[in-house]
Symmetry: C2
Subunit: 258 residues, 2 copies
DNA sequence: ATCTATTTGTACGTATGTATT
DNA sequence: AAATACATACGTACAAATAGA
């Protein structure tokens, strides 16, 4: 009862189109920034936030869900639990970006236009910069298509491994924007590979070419030959683009899973 | 109070790490996809969703906030109101992407590495494809720096207008991924321009070069000379990169405003 | 292993705001 | 101007999870 309902805290006046939970969410972001909170730091708990912002429990919780959806916080129950600042994961960001392209369709050539430009950059950047573990991981991936594809299923697996190769490369990028974009594209292509029956029938020549490229690239990366790494990647992308040009199809984005 | 609290609908069992609101949010996404709902279509209202998913009002509302934070739905009050599917806006997606880079810092060179590769592509794509209105808008922007900068403030305004030029160009990209990335980078650079005192003192030579480039580019775009448009843009980016190389500074991303 | 304290999560019931008819 | 149909916000009671004694 009672319902003191003092409502208006500060602005019952102007262009107040934003919902209360959203306002609170933005306010909490401000709190994080001004207190220079780092990932892992704890936010005030529900009860404190309620008094701090003078909002009802539900409102605070909705605000938290907004921040959680953005990947900025994680909440845990129990003692020592609460709401914690969290570094937004690449996975989540990709999911969010996927939503954007759910109605704005991408084509295979859209993606290859970018890959052609960006993958060679990445290859050059990474030459001589990868440690043994990273090289080892990449080599392990190439071994997944050591033998020619015997079936459509083999072909699909090879193609997926190849994309994983690019995604892992992207994960080592020093330029995080470059790495993110390349990783995103690899994910998109990987989905296409699994949902459509692309890349069939098994193509022996394509396999041979692809494998040759991966091995040469690895060598260039290991020896630190940036120019050669760039050229190999550029050639590979040109080659792949040519193949793709027959596959001028629209990529149906799915809604990103959080 | 009863509190029948029948809780578990389907899965009180397995690895249920996802919170209920998040599950509901994903379920509603599934509803949108399987019913092939388009932007503007109405979702069931709160009451219906409550019975549909067997959840309490608060849970449904939190789920809605999640979807709203992702920009997938918009809610309106009043009769005829409710929850509507919404095309995720570019602005919101950029905000979400900004969050990702809040802890993963970008440098000016990171951004220019990409601009150098991508902006020429865009210029070439757009040659001969812009209608009179689009060309007019771009011309109007160039007129904002018709006169040499007289002050730091002028210089800042010019630089902002120049970035707006690129952003507007990006908006016309047929390749939505390309357009999005270029628009995002323009936004990032624009923030840097306003928050830091970059690009000072006023540089007369830079102004002259920049203006010359914009006018030549517009001409190439109008006449449909793709190759020339690409070259002009490439030169411009090389030039800008050289300037930027002295400014090897980290870009502090802000948390995206929704 | 059990209890206990702490903190988030869920469920209602009700009151208020808001926009359409 | 009033009624209506919604979302929005509030407050309390209770449930579940988890860390520590």
């Amino acid at each position: 009862m009672s319902h003191a309902t003092s409502h208006s805290i500060s602005d019952n006046n102007a262009e107040n189109r934003a919902s209360r939970p959203l306002q609170v969410a933005e306010a909490i972001k401000g709190y994080v920034v001004s207190n220079a909170l780092k990932p892992g730091d704890k936010l005030p708990n529900e009860a404190e936030l309620i008094t701090l912002f003078g909002m009802a429990k539900g409102t605070i919780r909705e605000a938290m869900r907004i921040l959680e959806a953005q990947g900025l916080v994680k909440t845990r129950t129990g003692p020592g639990g609460g709401c914690f600042v969290h570094e937004v994961s690449e996975t989540r960001t990709r999911a969010l970006l996927s939503n954007y392209f759910y109605f704005r369709h991408l084509t295979i050539s859209d993606i290859y236009q970018l890959r052609k430009q960006l993958e060679p950059e990445l290859a050059a950047d990474l030459a001589g910069k990868l440690d043994a573990a990273a090289i080892g991981e990449l080599e392990a991936i190439t071994e997944e298509y050591e033998t020619p594809p015997q079936s459509k299923e083999d072909d699909r697996r090879h193609h997926e491994a190849s994309l994983r190769f690019h995604a892992r490369l992207a994960a080592h990028a020093e330029n995080h924007l470059l790495g993110f974009i390349i990783g995103f594209m690899a994910e998109v292509l990987s989905e296409v590979t699994t949902t459509r029956r692309l890349f069939e029938p098994p193509n022996h020549e394509l396999w041979a070419k692809g494998r040759e490229f991966q091995l040469n690239l690895l060598q260039a990366l290991e020896t630190g030959d940036a120019q050669r790494a760039r050229e190999i990647m550029a050639q590979h992308m040109s080659f792949a683009e040519k193949l793709m040009h027959q596959q001028e199809l629209r990529v149906e984005r799915k809604l990103g899973d959080l």
